[in-house]
Structure formats: structure tokens, C-alpha cells
């Protein structure tokens, strides 16, 4: 047979044959997630998976936050005996890994998972089963590390787990293995989502959404996903080497046998620095989405913003040594990393200036809660970025490295730069997720409490860091006079904690009884607002055709759409990479329970490998079986063609 025989046979039912009502009914049937336990475990709807991701990440935020509160209580006065060193060290490690690996990165990816298909105008993420798989892997990794913690096996080596402290000699027991395998789980899941996101953005954009019409949020997620693809392998290599050293006796990090301790730091930070932008870049995307809506004008400097995103993504791979200035590297080499770290302030500055320009020149500002959080972001993030510039100076860093000054810097950029936009984004997109608005009144209270609490908790850390207080100490002597300021910090942290309680109350109340939102409550311009809130399981009854970067502003009367996709099988439109010309009608995978089983067998293998290297051999069989089950065609139209 030849290719001609396989040419498209217009079998199946096309949407062109149906009226609006039956079109919607047929699509809803085709794209449905089945009910029942099996249906629950099989879902491949990006919105369902993303919602699970979001809720799980919020629970981890709560756990990470509670461990922070515990630490703050212990540190509230000198020589407090509430928490001993053993528990404290587990707490700050759990806090760090939970916030970075189980909260910040997954939640950013989850927002992307939810919004990107809607924003680019497609019906599902590319490789939906891979995304389902990644959620289960993420969940099992998070549960695994927290169960270990409650069994007194929580890692106690800091979130970057330097060797030799985490090596076989100085970390007996399983705690360091728990850290290393938690890394493997979460990185596998991040990488999977990143790949799915990249392909969605490159290949599944609505017709006409050429590169210069991609919403900035989507650009941000795209760049982030690329950074993930090139950064995460580094930490997986580092953690795998560590596991090998610990489990089978290799000497990669053992200086006595020709290994080296610093190579671990290089590998970790070659990932670890991009990691902070993996958290930050999606947040800038959120700001870029909120600002034009509330300033009522298209973003100022679209091209400059896109180029800045790309520049930050690329430059982020050239800064890792600024975390290692105190290790005694050659001076000249270190100075190079001062220069590169300073350089990255330029694209970051461009972003700030463009947002300010947009806000300056738009229509009347609508100072709603999402925008309040964006203003909070300016206030806090710019300060944090500037302390970052201070840290980038080699000699200056030698005084403040590993002190509370650094703790202050990174909470300013992480919370101010990522969590504040995230909170704003929650107020902004909550109506899309639930169909209801969040309470504006509670939102204002939440904002002010968070803003004041945050600054009270973290600003004084700069000072106490300069006074000489190192990080990662479970207590400090009375004579140093750090007691009062630490008490103040703890009070601020409690205030900040309260703001989150208010937030959760607002979420819960609004989800039940918030004001109904409608399709486009903010009168925003991007495609996710073209569909109902919450969106139907097939997202778009007909794929929109895009002719402007703010399509909903450009098309006030009616929406141009494309017709001709099947409705009795899950069909998505594949378009060309640069111009987004329609190219193929491909099938999107149906629900399947095999990704769940694959995640179980992969997770079980990771878990087992902590105890014996043979687990990798035993685990190969269930992994192979579940993967074959996953990919083996079941005869549905989606599996053929």
C-alpha cells in the first residue's frame, strides 16, 4: 500500500454537519471524563489535571508554611528550647524542598497546564496522558517525602544537600536518600509537563496565532518549559550521582578517591539558578496578563518583553557560580559571574519598565485585587532584585552569603516576585476556574495583611543578616542581641500566616457562593475569556481564528472560527510552528488508567531503590508492562490514524 491509501478519509461526524446545540452535546460526550474511581484515575483533561495540581500544590504550600511558622517560633527568642537541632534541620529542609519543588514549580506549571491550551485556542494539552502521568508522579513524590518526615526520616541537609554532608559518610540512615529520590520524582514530573507544554505551544495554536500574537503568559510558560528541559537534567544527574555514591559505593564526590565535592555544587546550581527563574518567569507572565486588562490597553513593548523573557531564560544558565563565591574559586573566574549576574538585571529592568509604561498610559486604572497584588509585586520584587544585584558582587557576597541577608533576598524575590503575582493571578483567573468571582472586600483585607505581614517578617532579615546572623541555625546566643529583631520577624510571619488563612477563607466562600462571573468578567482580551466559566471539557466548540494579539478586544461583535473537525473522536488542530497555519487534524489521546499504573510502578521503583539497587531491576517489569498498556492501541478512533 502507499501513502495515497492512507490519505484522509472524511469518516466520522464533522462539526460542519451539526447545529450549535447538538455540536456542544456531541463534543461534551466525546471529551467527557468518566465518573467513578476508574474514571477519576483515568482523566486526561488538562483542566482536571491542572486543578488537581493546583489543590495539591496549595496543600504543600500549607505544609511548607507551617514548617516555616514552627521555625519562626523556635527563633523568636535566643536559646529557645522548643525545637532541637535534629528537628529544626529537618524543618528548614522540608520547608525549602516543599516550597521549591512541591509548591512553587508545580503550581506555576499547573497554572500553565490549565491556561495554555485555553489561551492558544486548543482542546487539550499535547500528550495528555503524559500530563496525567506527571501528576501522579508528583503526588507520590510529595506524599513520599512528607510521610518520611512524619516517620522521622525527613531529609535534614538543606534544600541543596551539599556533599559530603549528604554523602554516605556523614549522612547515615535514609534521610539523604529521601531527598535524592524526591528530586527524581518531582523532576520527572516537571520535565514531562514541560515537554507537553512546549509541544502544545509550538504545534497546537489556533490558526493565525503567529509568534507575535502569542499571549505573553504563554510566552513566559514556553520559555520556562525550555529552561526546565535544559536545567532539570542537571539536578537529576547530581542526585543520581549522590544516590550511586550512597548506595553502591561509587566515589564521584569523594575527594579521597579522586572525586570532588565542589562538582556537586556546580551540578546543583547549574540547575538551581535557572530554577529560581523557572519560578519567576511564569509569574512575570501573570503580571503581563493582569496589567493590560486593568490598564485597558495592549501591553507596552510586546517585543521587548518577549526578548527579555528569552534573554532571562538564556542568561540564567550563566550565573550559577554566584551561589559559590565563598567556596574559594579563582577570583577572576568569579568576577565573570558578577558581570553576568549584573547583566540579567537588564532584561528584568526592561520588564519592569514596560509594565510601568503600560500602567502609566492606559485607560483609567481599575484598582481591583489582582492589580493590588501586582503593585505589591513591584514594591517587593524590585527591592529583592536590587539586593540580588548586591549579592552578585563577589566581595560583598562574602560578607552576606549564608546569612539572613540572603534569606531576605530570596523571600523578597520568591514571595514578592512569584507568590504575589500568583495570588493576583488567583483573583484574576478564579472566575474562569469556578465560574464565580472572589470577594473583593476580603481580597483587599488579604492584600494589606499580606503586604504588611510580609515586609514586617522579611525586611528585618536584611539587617539581622548584616549583624552577622547565619542562616540554618536552630538557635543563637543571647549576647549577640538578635533577640528583639527576631521576635519582630516572627510576629510579622504570623501576620503573614493570617493573611493566608484569610485567603483560604475567601477561596472557600467564593467557590461556594461567590457572585456568578460570566465569560469575561474583566473584559480581558485573550482567548481563555472567550469560553464559558468554567470552560466546557472540550474548551472550544469551534477553534477560534486569531488575527490580533488581543483577539477579544479586536473582535467585539463575533468570533471568527474554523470548522471541520470531527466530533465523534477527540480531534485537535495541529498548526505550523511559526505562522500557526492549519496543518493537520490529529487525534488527542482518550482517558486511560495506564498512566496511573505507570506512575505507580515508576514511583515504586524509585522508592525501592532507596533500599536496594536491585529494585531498578525488579521495577523494570511493571514499568514495561504499564508503558506497553499505555501505548498499545485499543481500537478507538483516537488510536488509529
Amino acid at each position: 500500500m502507499s501513502s495515497a491509501d492512507l490519505a484522509p478519509k472524511p469518516e466520522g461526524i464533522l462539526d460542519t454537519e451539526l447545529d450549535a446545540e447538538s455540536l456542544r452535546r456531541r463534543l461534551a460526550e466525546t471529551w467527557k471524563t468518566r465518573s467513578g474511581l476508574v474514571g477519576f484515575l483515568s482523566s486526561v483533561d488538562h483542566k482536571v489535571i491542572a486543578r488537581r495540581y493546583l489543590i495539591t500544590a496549595l496543600i504543600f504550600l500549607c505544609l511548607g508554611g507551617l514548617s516555616a511558622v514552627a521555625m519562626r517560633v523556635q527563633l523568636s527568642g535566643p536559646e529557645r528550647g522548643l525545637i532541637g537541632p535534629d528537628l529544626y534541620n529537618q524543618l528548614f529542609t522540608m520547608h525549602g524542598v516543599t516550597m521549591m519543588f512541591l509548591f512553587a514549580v508545580p503550581i506555576m506549571q499547573a497554572v500553565g497546564l490549565y491556561l495554555v491550551p485555553l489561551m492558544v485556542g486548543t482542546r487539550n494539552i499535547a500528550f495528555p496522558r503524559l500530563s496525567a502521568f506527571s501528576y501522579w508522579v508528583y503526588l507520590s513524590g510529595g506524599v513520599f517525602v512528607w510521610v518520611s518526615f512524619f516517620l522521622n526520616m525527613g531529609p535534614d541537609i538543606g534544600w541543596f544537600a551539599y556533599v559530603p554532608l549528604s554523602g554516605p559518610e556523614f549522612a547515615p540512615g535514609k534521610r539523604a536518600d529521601v531527598w535524592a529520590q524526591m528530586i527524581t520524582y518531582t523532576e520527572v514530573s516537571s520535565l514531562a509537563v514541560a515537554v507537553a507544554t512546549i509541544v502544545t505551544v509550538l504545534k497546537q495554536r489556533a490558526p493565525g496565532m503567529s509568534l507575535d500574537r502569542i499571549p505573553l503568559f504563554v510566552w513566559a510558560i514556553l520559555v520556562t518549559s525550555f529552561v526546565i528541559v535544559f536545567a532539570m537534567p542537571s539536578v537529576m544527574i547530581a542526585s543520581s550521582f549522590l544516590i550511586l555514591d550512597r548506595l553502591v559505593g561509587t566515589h564521584i564526590f569523594n575527594p579521597a578517591e579522586g572525586g570532588d565535592a565542589l562538582i556537586f555544587q556546580h551540578l546543583f546550581w547549574f540547575f538551581g539558578h535557572p530554577e529560581v527563574y523557572i519560578i519567576f518567569l511564569p509569574a512575570t507572565g501573570m503580571v503581563s496578563a493582569i496589567v493590560p486588562t486593568f490598564a485597558r490597553r495592549p501591553i507596552f513593548g510586546y517585543l521587548a518583553l518577549v526578548l527579555s523573557l528569552i534573554a532571562v531564560g538564556i542568561l540564567s544558565f550563566g550565573l550559577w557560580v554566584h551561589h559559590m563565591f565563598a567556596t574559594g574559586l579563582p577570583k577572576l573566574g568569579a568576577s565573570f559571574f558578577t558581570a553576568s549576574s549584573m547583566l540579567i538585571a537588564i532584561p528584568n529592568g526592561i520588564q519592569i519598565f514596560c509594565w510601568l509604561a503600560t500602567l502609566w498610559s492606559g485607560g483609567p486604572l481599575r484598582l481591583k485585587t489582582p492589580l493590588l497584588f501586582v503593585f505589591g509585586f513591584f514594591f517587593i520584587f524590585v527591592a529583592g532584585g536590587l539586593t540580588g544585584v548586591m549579592l552578585a558582587s563577589v566581595p560583598l557576597d562574602l560578607q552576606v552569603h549564608d546569612t539572613y541577608f540572603v534569606v531576605a533576598h530570596f523571600h523578597y524575590v520568591l514571595i514578592g516576585g512569584a507568590v504575589f503575582p500568583l495570588l493576583g493571578a488567583t483573583y484574576y483567573w478564579f472566575p474562569k476556574l469556578t465560574g464565580r468571582m472572589m470577594s473583593e472586600r476580603l481580597g483587599r483585607w488579604h492584600f494589606w495583611l499580606a503586604f504588611i505581614g510580609f515586609n514586617a517578617a522579611f525586611f528585618p532579615m536584611h539587617i539581622v543578616g548584616l549583624w552577622g546572623m547565619p542562616r540554618r541555625v536552630y538557635t543563637y546566643p543571647v549576647e549577640l542581641g538578635w533577640g528583639g529583631i527576631n521576635l519582630f520577624i516572627t510576629a510579622g510571619a504570623l501576620l503573614f500566616f493570617l493573611s493566608f488563612v484569610l485567603f483560604v477563607i475567601n477561596l472557600a466562600r467564593s467557590a461556594r457562593s461567590g457572585e456568578a462571573a460570566g465569560e469575561n468578567p474583566w473584559d480581558a482580551g485573550t482567548l481563555e475569556w472567550a469560553v464559558s466559566s468554567p470552560p466546557p471539557n472540550y474548551n472550544f466548540a469551534r477553534i477560534p481564528v486569531v488575527a490580533h494579539s488581543e483577539p477579544l478586544w479586536a473582535e467585539r461583535g463575533s468570533m471568527p472560527v474554523a470548522a471541520g473537525l470531527r466530533v465523534d473522536a477527540r480531534e485537535v488542530l495541529i498548526s505550523t510552528v511559526a505562522e500557526a497555519k492549519p496543518d493537520l487534524r490529529e487525534k488527542s489521546a482518550r482517558p486511560s488508567i495506564w498512566p496511573f499504573f505507570s506512575a505507580l510502578s515508576v514511583g515504586g521503583t524509585f522508592l525501592g531503590s532507596i533500599f536496594t539497587p536491585w529494585a531498578v531491576v525488579w521495577g523494570a517489569l511493571p514499568i514495561a508492562v504499564s508503558l506497553i498498556g499505555w501505548f498499545w492501541p485499543k481500537g478507538a478512533p483516537e488510536d488509529e490514524e
Binding site: 500500500m1 535544559f230 537534567p233 550511586l244 492549519p582 493537520l584
Partner: protein
């Protein structure tokens, strides 16, 4: 919002190959991330070799013959791989079936010889860092070889069932071919690092 139809899609093909297909891009992304892993592992090896006073650390260089045979096999496999790619593009069932069998054989053969490579390294992973890195690099590549051969076998079986007769399957074959290039290409620098660097 009201909709107005401006574009008709029903005449579009339902599968495509190469850069037209999303799977191809997915494969490319996985190749990129796995390639990054290889590069970083190799960089670690070079870093350790660089800071060590002598390389290999107090061990005899490995016997390169098993590795050389694997290299020859892998490079030779590129020829049938390339031919298979032509048939897969044209969706010709019989040659593709034969090709998949040939590629399975070309996947299994290096794996068998690989079994002789590990002892030929002349050092164990737990002797010193040099030994560790040799085993790590070889192990990493073996893992890729194993998974790809597994994938090839499953796909070969699939091609002999009624599921094989679908454009989508031929695109899968092409992705398998694409990935095999990657497996072979990553081996070449590793072959140099493992067997020849210790001789300089």
C-alpha cells in the same frame, strides 16, 4: 459570543510525519533533555579528569575491543535505519516490517556485546572516581540502548498486528528511527571518553 466560520479544516490530513507531527517535537524535546544529561555527565568526567594529577587514576586503560565492536555495529545500523526511514515515509508495510526486524537485531547485537564491555573496563565502579565515571557513562548509555530496543521490539510486534495498518503507526516508526540516530550519535563521544581519553 457569536461565531462566524472563516476557515474550513475538514480537508486537512489526519497525520503527518517529521516536524509536522507533534510527536516528532516531543521526541526532539526528550532528546534535548537526555542529551543535556549526557553532556553534563561527560562534563563531570572531564572535570574530574582535569583536576586529577593523572588519568586514569592508578588503573590500566580499558580494553577497547568490545567497545569498538559496539561502535562498528552502531554505525553500521545507521544504514538500515536510513533505508527504513524511506519506506516508513512512504508507508510501505512489507519493507517496514522487515526493517523493524532488522533494526531489532541491530539493537540486540550491541546490547549483547555491551555485556563484554563492562568487564573490559578493567576497573570496578567502587574502586575510585575514575572507575565510577566509566561505569556511570557506560551505564547511562546502556539504559538508553535498552529502552530504545524495548521500544523497537514493541513497535515491531505492533506492525505485525492489524494495528500496524495506520498512518499513525508509520509516524511512530519514524520517531523510533529518529531516536535511534540519537542513541548512536551519543555513543560516539562516549566511546572516545571511555576508551581513548585514558590512553592520552
Amino acid at each position: 459570543m457569536r461565531e462566524r466560520t472563516v476557515l474550513e479544516l475538514s480537508s486537512l490530513p489526519t497525520f503527518g510525519s517529521g516536524p509536522r507531527s507533534p510527536t516528532w517535537w516531543g521526541t526532539l524535546a526528550f532528546i534535548a533533555l537526555e542529551g543535556t544529561g549526557f553532556v553534563l555527565a561527560a562534563a563531570t568526567y572531564l572535570y574530574l579528569a582535569y583536576i586529577a594529577p593523572g588519568w586514569p587514576l592508578s588503573a590500566a586503560p580499558p580494553n577497547h575491543w568490545p567497545g569498538t565492536i559496539v561502535t562498528i555495529l552502531l554505525v553500521a545500523s545507521l544504514v538500515p535505519n536510513h533505508i527504513l526511514s524511506g519506506y516508513a515515509k512512504k508507508c510501505e508495510m512489507r519493507p517496514v516490517r522487515i526493517g523493524m526486524l532488522v533494526m531489532t537485531a541491530f539493537g540486540l547485537a550491541p546490547l549483547i556485546v555491551r555485556g563484554f564491555e563492562f568487564p573490559a573496563l578493567n576497573i570496578y565502579w567502587d574502586t575510585n572516581a575514575y572507575g565510577s565515571m566509566l561505569w556511570v557513562l557506560l551505564g547511562l548509555h546502556t539504559l538508553h540502548l535498552l529502552t530504545d530496543v524495548g521500544d523497537t521490539i514493541v513497535l515491531a510486534v505492533l506492525m505485525f498486528t492489524h494495528h500496524g495498518n495506520s498512518g499513525r503507526r508509520f509516524a511512530d516508526v519514524e520517531d523510533n528511527i529518529f531516536y535511534w540516530y540519537f542513541v548512536v550519535l551519543t555513543w560516539l563521544p562516549l566511546y572516545f571518553l571511555i576508551y581513548w581519553l585514558p590512553r592520552f
